[in-house]
């Protein structure tokens, strides 16, 4: 739920900068970001695992 605070602050930042036109782009980006959250994010390390390929 703390992520909602971040989202609120993020939108408030762009509103405060009067860059309203970024907000639709941001919303779509955040949805795309959900993809990353589902897979745990970024480049992934795996110690004690040797690649098969």
């Amino acid at each position: 739920m703390s992520r909602f605070t971040t989202l609120r602050e993020l939108v408030a930042h762009f509103v405060g900068q009067r860059k309203f036109f970024f907000i639709p782009l941001l919303l779509v980006l955040l949805l795309a970001g959900g993809l990353l959250l589902l897979t745990g994010g970024l480049s992934y390390v795996a110690p004690f695992v040797y690649s098969l390929f």
Binding site: L36, A46, P47, F48
Partner: protein, 215 residues
């Protein structure tokens, strides 16, 4: 079964241009393992186990150097060993599950390296010899971690092994997931970037020139 496993483990050696990349990936895995073990040595309360983890870490660091050199030889040019951090396994799982995880990894690594040694024995004897030296250590690592699970960590070892198996599967799932998501995300970002093109007109950066003074 062994023949099938051998085939899977050694498949990519047969693909031109893959050999040095895979050796480099192995070097990376060894280097990450060394980092995990150094952290474990610092964190464990038992000085004897700290010493065991340090010896293991020194072995992994040496393996990383060997494999890094082998990757450069296979490529015919220097290669940079990437540094990507580590999974902080001890921190996340605690010592018992960490040891179970390492034991599982070493056992799997030992089997894979046995297959690699068999593959390269005739095809590339110097590489086979290098991999054999690593294999000797892998067997020792598998043995001592197994002894820890039967000794000081015997109580709860079965549960620890199960958790390690789940964690291992989880890591490999996430690794595969990240690899699958990457192209999808890249495509999505490209589409968004193109759709956001009109914003580019407004966003043409006035390059900040000189001092910006505060009021």
């Amino acid at each position: 079964m062994r023949a099938l496993a051998d085939f899977v483990y050694t498949l990519s050696w047969r693909i031109p241009g893959r050999r040095w990349r895979r050796l480099l990936a192995f070097a990376e895995a060894e280097a990450e393992s060394a980092l995990e073990l150094r952290c474990a040595a610092a964190a464990t309360v038992d000085p004897e186990r700290a010493a065991l983890y340090l010896k293991h870490a020194a072995d992994e660091a040496r393996h990383a150097q060997i494999l890094h050199r082998r990757a450069a030889l296979a490529r015919g040019a220097p290669v940079t060993l990437p540094r990507r951090g580590h999974g902080r396994l001890y921190e996340r799982f605690g010592e018992r599950v960490f040891v179970a995880y390492v034991h599982r990894g070493e056992r799997r690594g030992r089997r894979q390296f046995e297959a690699h040694v068999r593959f390269f024995e005739e095809r590339d004897p110097p590489l086979a010899a290098a991999l054999t030296s690593i294999l000797t250590d892998e067997r020792r690592h598998e043995r001592y971690t197994g002894e820890l699970l039967e000794g000081p960590f015997a109580d709860g070892a079965a549960r620890a092994r199960r958790r390690a198996r789940l964690a291992d599967l989880g890591h490999r799932w996430r690794r595969a997931g990240a690899a699958l998501t990457a192209p999808l995300f890249a495509l999505l970002m490209l589409v968004l970037y193109l759709l956001a093109a009109p914003l580019a007109l407004g966003a043409r950066a006035r390059e900040a020139d000189g001092w910006r003074k505060e009021d």
